[in-house]
Amino acid sequence: MSTPADTPLLDVQNLRVSFATEEGVVGAVQNVSFSIQRGRTLALVGESGSGKSVTAYSLLRLIQPPGKIVAGRILLRSQRLGEIDVAHLDEKSGLLFKVRGGLMSMIFQEPMTALSPVHTIGSQVDEAILMHQDVSRAAAKRLTLEMLHKVGIADAAMRYQQYAHELSGGLRQRVVIAMALVCRPELLIADEPTTALDVTMQAQILALIKTLQREIGCSVLLITHDFGVVAQMADDVAVMQRGEIVERGTVRAVLKNPQHAYTRALLDALPARRHAARQAAAAQLTAASGATASGASAASGAAAAAEHG
């Protein structure tokens, strides 16, 4: 049961996920390996179709047919339950249910689809507690209210009785975060948690994830396409393209000094970088034309002086 501090919490080895389609088998994830240390945040970044979400979903064994994990190991070294190879757990095994939502939980991109429209907010968070902890309904409700308060929902008692459609996008995402973290998971998977939100709400949700991660001490796998979010949230980053990890390293190393051509292309496409590049080009141009202009005026000045002389 005991795990040395330096072995990673999660070790994904040679993971392969395929989808059988009418046009043949599509390898959505091809031989992907990565690991996450305890308490650290790994960002998995790439464009749509790169396989980053499929990777995340396979960690929780949420891949539905025609999709299938065809090879690889997903080793979770839990402090509570020891080493588990999630990739080879039986679909119906009790251990898989303990892993899902208990040891590993997930925040989804679209909080409206992640929440049930016909159950109250409170009952959904209660359910997460009752599935994984041996407590009474009353105790579960107390825990839920405490958690709703912790994720920054003012007036938790009133919100407890409301339905998802009565909440704003930011509040819904807070509820999803409460559901994900109420059982104090060892790994939190956040799949584009702020993509549906605008920038001020994004900043608040990212701050909340950071604070709660520190408090619970969990590791985070952050799935995103936004290098801004990567730079501000993650310790390490892995760049995915067409089902493969093409580059990985610490955030600073990869963002400051990208080695792979695809990473460089992605970074160069960022609006902020494009703007900076255009400005630099414009500055160079004005500097060059300024030099010519001053050169010309100096020359004409000299000519005028010669005329007068």
Binding site: V199, A203, Q232, L266
Partner: protein, 307 residues
């Protein structure tokens, strides 16, 4: 009716501030309210939400004005009121037609509005829901010409092919349906549909928000090229400040239905004046790990509200 027309077509008394050419679009005191209902089945109107509250700005020909703000700030409602997708409650929207007349879009009847609409087009956010899945690309892109009876038969086909080529699609794409295209290609179809009318004003409502960064960059480049070639004027509604910074000449920041600050893009981004603009800019996560973002946005917004 004739009364309305004379009023609507009266010359604009004051073209508004700003040097150079007369504005293409001049919005004055634009307002729109939505009713708020009580919960339950017997819904009673309990109040009014000021979605757009006394908004005024000018748009010069060939200019790109960014309209930014968080969701619920009224930027999309403003755009929709200008194009009369919804009717504004108050205000004037003076629009200069190619023949030099100015008309108040806010006051035109729907019959008077139709011929004016060809000059002001819209590109939508979601390239999936804004294209009819049962229509071929030829029908989608050609439909505006058919509606306005501007072309038919071989001429229609030629114009569709021309505009498709101009936005980077192939003539053989005409017979395909939207599902066969990627998000970026669909957005090009949406742009072609707007462009085929040769409008002077295009309203882009979050036109690149749903796209991956590399595709987004290509679509932004295309919009810039088209602007130069056809002297287009853009009203660019967006929540991504980085995109607006690179694309727009001027930026209007909206909050709770009002424009809190309007200035050149350079000024907004280098010397923001309004405290809300400052918070908004500080919340953008920088891709440079050495430029920390502001994680304290929630408290700062609450403080701003308390003032």
């Amino acid at each position: 009716m004739s009364m309305t027309r004379t009023r609507a077509e009266a010359a604009l008394p004051d073209p508004g501030p700003g040097p150079g050419a007369a504005p293409l679009l001049s919005v004055r005191g634009l307002s729109k309210q939505f009713p708020l209902y009580s919960p339950g089945i017997r819904r009673k109107v309990t109040g009014l939400l000021n979605a757009v509250d006394n908004v005024s700005f000018d748009l010069a020909p060939g200019e790109s004005l960014g309209l930014v703000g968080e969701s619920g700030s009224g930027k999309t409602t403003t755009a929709r009121c200008i194009l009369r997708a919804i009717d504004p409650a108050a205000g004037e929207v003076w629009f200069r037609l190619p023949d030099g007349r100015t008309v108040d879009l806010a006051r035109l009847s729907s019959r008077e509005l139709k011929p004016v609409r060809q000059h002001a087009q819209m590109v939508f956010q979601d390239p999936f829901s804004s294209l009819n899945p049962r229509m071929s690309v030829r029908d989608i892109v050609g439909e505006p010409l058919v509606i306005h009876r501007l072309a038919r038969g071989a001429e229609l086909d030629d114009r569709v092919s021309d505009v498709l080529a101009r936005v980077g699609l192939k003539p053989e794409h005409r017979s395909r349906y939207p599902h066969a295209f990627s998000g970026g290609q669909r957005q090009r179809i949406g742009i072609a549909r707007a462009l085929i009318m040769r409008p002077s004003l295009i309203v882009c409502d979050e036109a690149t928000s749903a796209l991956d960064v590399s595709v987004q960059a290509q679509v932004l480049d295309l919009l810039k090229e088209l602007q130069r070639e056809f002297r287009l004027t853009y009203l660019f509604v967006a929540h991504n400040l980085d995109v607006v910074r690179g694309f727009c000449d001027r930026v209007a920041v909206m909050r709770k239905g009002r424009i809190v600050e309007i200035a050149s893009a350079t000024e907004i981004f280098s010397k923001p004046q309004h405290p809300y603009t400052k918070i908004l800019l500080s919340a953008v996560p920088s891709p440079d790990p050495d430029v920390p973002m502001n994680f304290n946005v929630g408290e700062e917004l609450a403080k701003l509200d308390a003032r």
